[in-house]
C-alpha cells in the first residue's frame, strides 16, 4: 500500500520535469520571441535596441540557463511578463482563474447530477426502454465533439430562442457585487455549463451502468436478496455502496477533460477565462502566458491523475498488486 503510494508519487517528479522541458523547449522553438512580437510593428525601434532588449531580458543566454531561471521563478509563482497585455502573467491569470474555476466546478456538479441517476437507472433496469434511451444518449454524448455540440447549443438557445446571452461572463452594465450581478453571472454560465456537462456524462454513466450490472449478480447481493432484504435496500446498501465509491475517485481524472473542455467552451461562448486567454496567447505568440498556462494546467492534470490513482488503489485493492 505505502509502496504503491510512494512509487506513484515519485513518478510525478520526472513527469513534471519532462512536461516543463517540453513546454520550455517548444516555447523557445516558436517562431519569433517576446521582443520581436512586441516591437515588430513599431518602426521606431531599431534592431540594435531590440538586441539590447534581448540581452536585458536574458534571451541570449544558453537554453539551460534560461530554463533554470524559468523553473526557479515559476516555483515562486513568477511567470514573467505578458508582452501583449503588458502586465505580470501571474496577475493576468489571477484575474481570469476565477471564471474558469466557476465554469469547471459548474460542469462537474451538473455532470454528476445528470450522470449518477441515469447510470443507476440504466444499470438497475437493464434492457428496459429507459436503459435503451440512456444508452443511446450515451453513444451520442461520446460521438459528438464538444465544439460542435456547443455551437449547436449556442445557435439554438441564444439565436433561435434567445433565452441565454450570446457570450461573456457577466453583463458589464451591472454593478459588481449586487444581486443582479450574481443573476447575470449565472445566466451567462448556464449554456456553457450545460454544453460541457451534457457530453461529459459519458464516462460516469458507462462506468456506473456496467458496474451495477456486474455487481448485481455477485454472491453477496444474492445472499442479501435471499435473506429478504427489500429491493430498494439491496441497491442503496449493497450495490451502490460498491459502485459509487470509485466515481468519487475519478474526480482527479476529470481535470484533464475539464482543461480541454474549457478551451472550447470559453472560445465559443467568448467567456473570459483561462481557456480563452490560452487561445488568444497562442495566436498572439505571447509565449510567457502560453508556457505558464500549459505548465499550470499540466501540473493540475498530473497531480489530479496521481490523486485519483492513489484513491482508487485504496478503494479497490486489486489495482495495487502490480
Amino acid at each position: 500500500m505505502l509502496k504503491f503510494i510512494l512509487r506513484r508519487t515519485l513518478i510525478m517528479i520526472p513527469q513534471l520535469l519532462v512536461l516543463s522541458l517540453i513546454i520550455f523547449l517548444l516555447a523557445k522553438a516558436m517562431p519569433g520571441d517576446a521582443v520581436t512580437s512586441s516591437f515588430m510593428s513599431n518602426p521606431n525601434v531599431t534592431p540594435e535596441q531590440m538586441e539590447k532588449m534581448r540581452e536585458k531580458l536574458g534571451l541570449n543566454d544558453s537554453w539551460y540557463v534560461q530554463y533554470g531561471h524559468w523553473v526557479g521563478n515559476a516555483v515562486q509563482g513568477d511567470f514573467g511578463q505578458s508582452f501583449t497585455h503588458k502586465q505580470p502573467v501571474t496577475s493576468l491569470l489571477a484575474g481570469r482563474v476565477g471564471n474558469t474555476l466557476l465554469l469547471s466546478t459548474g460542469i462537474l456538479i451538473v455532470t454528476y447530477i445528470i450522470a449518477i441517476p441515469l447510470g443507476i437507472i440504466a444499470g438497475r433496469w437493464t434492457d428496459s426502454w429507459a436503459d435503451k434511451l440512456i444508452v443511446t444518449y450515451n453513444y451520442f454524448a461520446f460521438a459528438t465533439p464538444l465544439f460542435v455540440f456547443s455551437l449547436l447549443m449556442l445557435f439554438l438557445f441564444s439565436f433561435i430562442l434567445g433565452w441565454t446571452p450570446i457570450g461573456g461572463s457577466v453583463d458589464i452594465r451591472i454593478e459588481t457585487g449586487s444581486f443582479d450581478y450574481i443573476v447575470s453571472k449565472v445566466k451567462h454560465l448556464i449554456l456553457p455549463v450545460m454544453s460541457g456537462a451534457l457530453l461529459a456524462t459519458f464516462g460516469t454513466i458507462q462506468y456506473l451502468r456496467n458496474d451495477i450490472i456486474d455487481t448485481k449478480l455477485k454472491d453477496f447481493v444474492k445472499t442479501a436478496r435471499a435473506k429478504g432484504v427489500p429491493e430498494s435496500k439491496v441497491y442503496t446498501r449493497h450495490i451502490l455502496r460498491n459502485s459509487l465509491l470509485p466515481i468519487a475517485a475519478f474526480l482527479g481524472y476529470e481535470i484533464t477533460g475539464l482543461i480541454a473542455g474549457s478551451i472550447f467552451l470559453e472560445m465559443i461562448f467568448s467567456y473570459p477565462g483561462l481557456g480563452q486567454l490560452f487561445i488568444q496567447s497562442v495566436m498572439g505568440r505571447d509565449f510567457t502566458v502560453v508556457t505558464a498556462l500549459v505548465m499550470i494546467s499540466g501540473t493540475a492534470a498530473i497531480v489530479g491523475t496521481m490523486l485519483s490513482d492513489i484513491i482508487l488503489s485504496i478503494v479497490d485493492p486489486r489495482i495495487r498488486i502490480d
Partner: protein, 312 residues
C-alpha cells in the same frame, strides 16, 4: 425467463438410441472456421456495427469520388452567390465566398479520413515495435521502457499537441506528426500487455522447444495473436484523430482556408452562426458526429467479435 405455463411435449422416438454409423461418427460436421472468419460471423450479427461499417464505406466512396463528380471546385469562389441556402444547384448551400459546401464537405471527409487512418497506422507501427520489444524482452528493458511510457502517459495530450502545432506550423503533415507523437503511447501499452500475456502460453513454449528463432516466434506466434486488441485500438484511434484534426482546424491551427476540413468549415461558421446560415454549421457538424459514431460502434462491435473468449 422461463415461461411457467408452457409444456414441452417430447415425441417418443427421441428416446430411442441412435443407430451407430462408423462412417459419420468421425467426420467433422461443421467446416473449421479460421479466427477471422469466426470474428466476421459474429460481427455480421451486430446490426449497429455493420451499419457503422456501411456508413464508413459510403463515406469513403463519396470522399474519393464526391469532389471529382461535383461541378464546383473546392476552392472556387463565386461571390455573387455567397451564403446561399441549400438548393438544386448547391445541395448543401454555399459559404461566405460562394464556395460549394457539398463539394467542401466531401473534401473535408478526405482530409478527416486521411488524417485518421494515417495517425492510426503510424501509431500501429511505433506501438508494435516499442510495445513488442518491451513485452518480449521483459526484465530491466521492460521496466525502463514502461517508466518512459508512464511519464508520457500522464502528460496532457491536447496541450502538447497545440504547442507542437504552433511550433511546427499548420499543415496536414504536421497534424499527423503532432498526433502520433502523443498518440503511440496507448498503442504501445496495449501491445506490451498482449505480448507479455501470450509469450508465456504453451504454444509459444512448444514453438521454442522445436527450435524456433525469436523472429519466427514474433512473426508466427505473437503478432497474429495480438492482432485482435490492436485492431480494436486502431478503430478507436481513427475517430480520436479525426476529432483532433477537427479541433485543431477549428482553432485555426490546422488546415487553412480556402482548403476545407470539417473543423475549418465549423470554424468558418462560428462568426455567422447568429445570422442564421445553419447549413454552414450543420453539414460539417453532422458528418463529424456521424463518422465518430460509426467508428465507435464499429470498434465496439469488433471488440466483441475479436475476443476469442466469447467464441461460441
Amino acid at each position: 425467463m422461463v415461461q411457467k405455463d408452457e409444456r414441452v411435449t417430447i415425441p417418443d422416438e427421441w428416446f430411442k438410441p441412435k443407430e451407430k454409423d462408423s462412417d459419420i461418427a468421425e467426420s467433422v460436421v461443421r467446416p473449421s472456421l479460421s479466427y477471422w472468419k469466426d470474428a466476421w460471423h459474429r460481427l455480421r450479427k451486430n446490426k449497429l456495427a455493420i451499419s457503422g461499417l456501411v456508413f464508413l464505406i459510403v463515406l469513403t466512396l463519396f470522399a474519393i469520388f464526391g469532389p471529382v463528380f461535383s461541378p464546383h471546385s473546392v476552392t472556387g469562389t463565386d461571390y455573387p452567390n455567397q451564403n446561399k441556402a441549400p438548393s438544386a444547384e448547391h445541395w448543401f448551400g454555399t459559404d461566405e465566398a460562394g464556395r460549394d459546401v457539398f463539394t467542401r464537405t466531401w473534401y473535408g471527409a478526405r482530409i478527416s479520413l486521411f488524417v485518421g487512418v494515417m495517425a492510426a497506422l503510424i501509431d500501429f507501427f511505433i506501438g508494435i515495435i516499442y510495445g513488442g520489444i518491451s513485452g518480449y524482452k521483459g526484465g530491466r528493458t521492460d521496466t525502463l521502457m514502461m517508466r518512459i511510457i508512464e511519464i508520457l502517459y500522464g502528460l496532457p495530450h491536447l496541450l502538447v499537441v497545440i504547442l507542437l502545432m504552433v511550433v511546427m506550423g499548420a499543415s496536414l503533415t504536421t497534424i499527423i506528426i503532432a498526433l502520433t507523437i502523443t498518440g503511440w503511447v496507448g498503442m504501445a501499452r496495449i501491445v506490451r500487455g498482449q505480448v507479455l500475456q501470450i509469450k508465456n502460453y504453451e504454444f509459444v513454449t512448444a514453438s521454442k522447444s522445436f527450435g524456433a528463432k525469436t523472429p519466427r516466434i514474433i512473426r508466427k506466434n505473437l503478432l497474429p495473436n495480438t492482432m485482435g486488441p490492436i485492431i480494436v485500438q486502431m478503430t478507436l484511434t481513427v475517430p480520436s484523430a479525426i476529432f483532433a484534426e477537427a479541433f485543431l482546424s477549428f482553432l485555426g491551427l490546422g488546415i487553412q482556408v480556402p482548403f476545407a476540413s470539417w473543423g475549418v468549415m465549423a470554424n468558418d461558421a462560428l462568426p455567422v452562426i447568429l445570422s442564421g446560415y445553419w447549413w454552414r454549421l450543420f453539414f460539417p457538424a453532422f458528418f463529424i458526429s456521424m463518422t465518430m459514431f460509426a467508428f465507435n460502434v464499429l470498434g465496439d462491435g469488433m471488440q466483441d467479435a475479436l475476443d476469442p473468449k466469447l467464441r461460441g
